[in-house]
């Protein structure tokens, strides 16, 4: 019914004793995610959330003790790269990094390292993943999406919530929603998710939510034209953004005439993708 996360996900939370880590661990637990352990160096041996989840000093110890196969990172930007390296080194297959504000050179080193390790990173600067009814690994509100056959992949956070909510109001459900994050260099990109959705038996159409900056949407368009049999609808944010400014996300910037919304929309439309004028229009593109 999904990609990347499902009922079998055994989640570990890095930075579990921090404010955000603890709050969202509770939220994920309430949603039904199988959280097996947490990591905070120096707090090994403690238990959090009324003794429900054990805390370990390192990822490796947590993996050995609890068999976690997925990690979510709520660690401040200056420590987050290390947390990702640690998770990749301990053999975690899927690493989800929520942290915003990681320096881009750190991300280039991270990205090249995890490729060597064969791990998959989602994020950073992302809301994580949601497979409605099965597992939530991230901060997407659980009550704005229902189970269904639409795959969603997005560079944004709240804009994604907006789309999920619009779908739910039309009684349209989601197989998995992946927030790939708003940084210029991230782990998993559009094409990775599109190919997973294309292979997933329970996804029959896909929504892509992009924004200004970079050329990932253009590359996705090329991929859709040549590799996708399932229909794709899209929305691109930032048509009114001025050039040379970071629009909140580090990666959302039009530079030297590159990364414009209009080019992305044109590329997608040429690939046969229906592009919505605003997010609330998306559900109608599928009917």
């Amino acid at each position: 019914m999904s990609i990347l996360i499902d009922k079998n996900t055994k989640l570990m939370v890095q930075g579990i004793t921090g404010n955000e880590g603890l709050f969202h661990t509770q939220q994920m637990l309430t949603y039904g995610t199988n959280i097996v352990s947490g990591v905070t160096p120096g707090k090994g041996g403690e238990w959090v959330l009324n003794g429900k989840i054990p805390v370990f000093d390192s990822v490796r110890i947590a993996v050995d003790a609890t068999g976690a196969n997925t990690s979510i990172i709520f660690v401040p930007a200056r420590y987050a790269p290390d947390a990702i390296f640690e998770a990749a080194d301990a053999g975690i297959e899927l690493i989800v990094c929520i942290t915003e504000g990681i320096p881009v050179q750190d991300m280039m080193r991270v990205r090249n390292y995890i490729e060597q390790k064969g791990a998959r990173l989602v994020g950073p600067n992302c809301p994580g993943l949601l497979t409605p009814g099965e597992s939530k690994v991230g901060i997407i509100p659980g009550d704005i999406a229902i189970t269904g056959n639409i795959g969603v992949v997005s560079r944004s956070g709240t804009l994604t919530y907006e789309v999920l909510y619009a779908l739910m109001l039309e009684n349209m459900g989601v197989s998995t929603c992946v927030g790939i994050g708003g940084d210029p260099i991230n782990g998993t990109n559009f094409i990775d998710c599109l190919s997973l959705f294309e292979e997933d038996l329970h996804t029959d159409r896909v929504i892509l939510i992009g924004e200004i900056g970079g050329t990932d949407e253009e590359k996705a368009a090329e991929y859709i034209a040549t590799h996708m049999s399932k229909p794709v609808a899209a929305f691109i944010a930032g048509q009114t953004a001025p050039p040379g400014k970071h629009m909140g996300h580090a990666g959302a910037i039009v530079e030297g005439g590159s990364g414009l919304a209009v080019d992305k929309i044109r590329a997608l439309e040429e690939a046969g993708v229906k592009v919505a004028k605003h997010p609330e229009e998306i559900p109608s593109l599928f009917s």
């Binding site: 930007a77 881009v104 919530y161 959302a252």
Partner: protein
């Protein structure tokens, strides 16, 4: 964050990259003294953070100290693309045989740094990239290995640099790489790197952009920020951890999340309005942050309406509502406000705002339509 030419070149020099003799002046008189000290022909260069300084009359030669003073006072008197000239760099004029380009930047698509060089230096490199891309040599650098010597040699050969300069070029390339890494630059550029008439390499101009996200580990660079390039409201917003960009329209926007904030601007435009700003109040925004944000929006006299679009996730609707009430008590504004509140604690938020004089909307489209209408003077409730 962009650095000035003189700041970039000081950093280059620290790393052993040869730069012309020179100093920064804040007055024409200082420029004269520096020219006297240098005792040669000088070039006076305005220090502003925009391109096209030469064309705007911001870079001029002077043969004598008196002429340096005169030229500098002319440069101090002009504005370049709206920016005042507060400092000039007085450099010894170089005898130039040839100009080349050398720079390092992040290649987003390749997820690696890329070193670029061109025999066509001294001109806008983006233009060269557009019109004559074959004139640019690009070498990607493994971020885990760093720049290797053979790569510098490949670049030197690729731009037909005379062999006797390869060693010196290699040292400059290695130093520029070190600058790029040590300063967390997203761009470190020498344009032009010149071959002088006595066959030396010299970095005549320098440009650096520092990754804003890295400033926590570069306090010395953070201090170099030039506030002239930012609107006062943007500087104020940064104090509160708000992501704010001033625009020219008349509908103020307060949104949580960058993507949704851009989308809200786009929808305003779609329905015939013009956004006055981009504003992302961030996840988990508290009441005092919201109230600061509203004050900043209302300080723009162009603003004729404000659109709030809050999709609660980590951000709670009741918290935002309390912030709005606090701000309205402080600012006392009769500018019409349209609010759409969805998600976490939205009900509670709406209840808090029940008695506030605000126009409510259920959907994004409805909110944008109403904001555009009231901004143009229509009455709706």
């Amino acid at each position: 964050m962009k650095l000035h030419e003189y700041q970039s070149k000081q950093i280059f020099s620290k790393y052993g990259i040869p730069i012309p003799k020179g100093k920064v002046a804040a007055t024409a008189q200082e420029a004269k003294l520096i020219a006297e000290e240098l005792g040669s022909r000088v070039v006076i260069k305005s220090q502003v953070l925009v391109g096209g300084r030469g064309k705007a009359g911001g870079i001029m030669l002077a043969k004598t100290p008196e002429q340096a003073e005169e030229v500098a006072s002319q440069i101090f008197a002009i504005e370049i693309k709206g920016l005042p000239v507060r400092k000039v760099l007085v450099d010894e004029a170089a005898k130039i045989d040839k100009e080349i380009y050398l720079g390092i930047t992040n290649d987003r698509a390749a997820r690696r740094p890329v070193m670029m060089a061109s025999a066509a230096g001294g001109v806008d490199i983006e233009e060269v990239a557009r019109n004559n891309p074959e004139q640019i040599i690009k070498v990607h650098i493994d971020p885990l290995l760093g720049l290797r010597d053979y790569q510098s040699r490949d670049i030197a050969a690729g731009i037909d640099l005379p062999r006797e300069l390869w060693r010196m070029f290699g040292q400059i390339a290695a130093s520029l790489w070190k600058v790029y890494i040590d300063c967390d630059a997203t761009l470190a550029e020498i344009n032009p790197l010149v071959i002088t008439s006595d066959h030396q390499l010299l970095a005549l101009d320098g440009k650096m952009v520092i990754d804003d996200n890295s400033l926590f580990r570069h306090p010395e660079l953070a201090e170099m920020r030039d506030l002239d390039v930012e609107a006062p409201s943007e500087i104020e917003a940064r104090k509160y951890g708000l992501s704010f960009i001033k625009l020219d329209g008349n509908i103020g926007c307060m949104v949580n999340g960058a993507g949704l904030a851009m989308t809200s601007m786009d929808i305003i435009k779609l329905f015939g309005g013009e956004p006055a700003n981009f504003l992302d109040i961030g996840g988990g925004a508290t009441a005092d942050k919201v109230s600061a944000a509203l004050r900043i929006i209302l300080s723009d006299s162009n603003v004729k309406a404000v659109l709030f679009n809050i999709f609660g996730g980590i951000t709670r609707g009741d918290e935002v509502a309390r912030g709005i009430l606090t701000a309205l008590e402080e600012v006392k504004s009769d500018i019409p406000m349209v609010i759409r509140l969805v998600g976490t604690n939205a009900e509670e938020g709406r209840a808090i705002l029940r008695n506030a004089d605000m126009i409510t909307a259920g959907t994004l489209v409805e909110a944008a339509r109403k904001a555009v209408a009231v901004a143009s003077g229509e009455q709706i409730r």
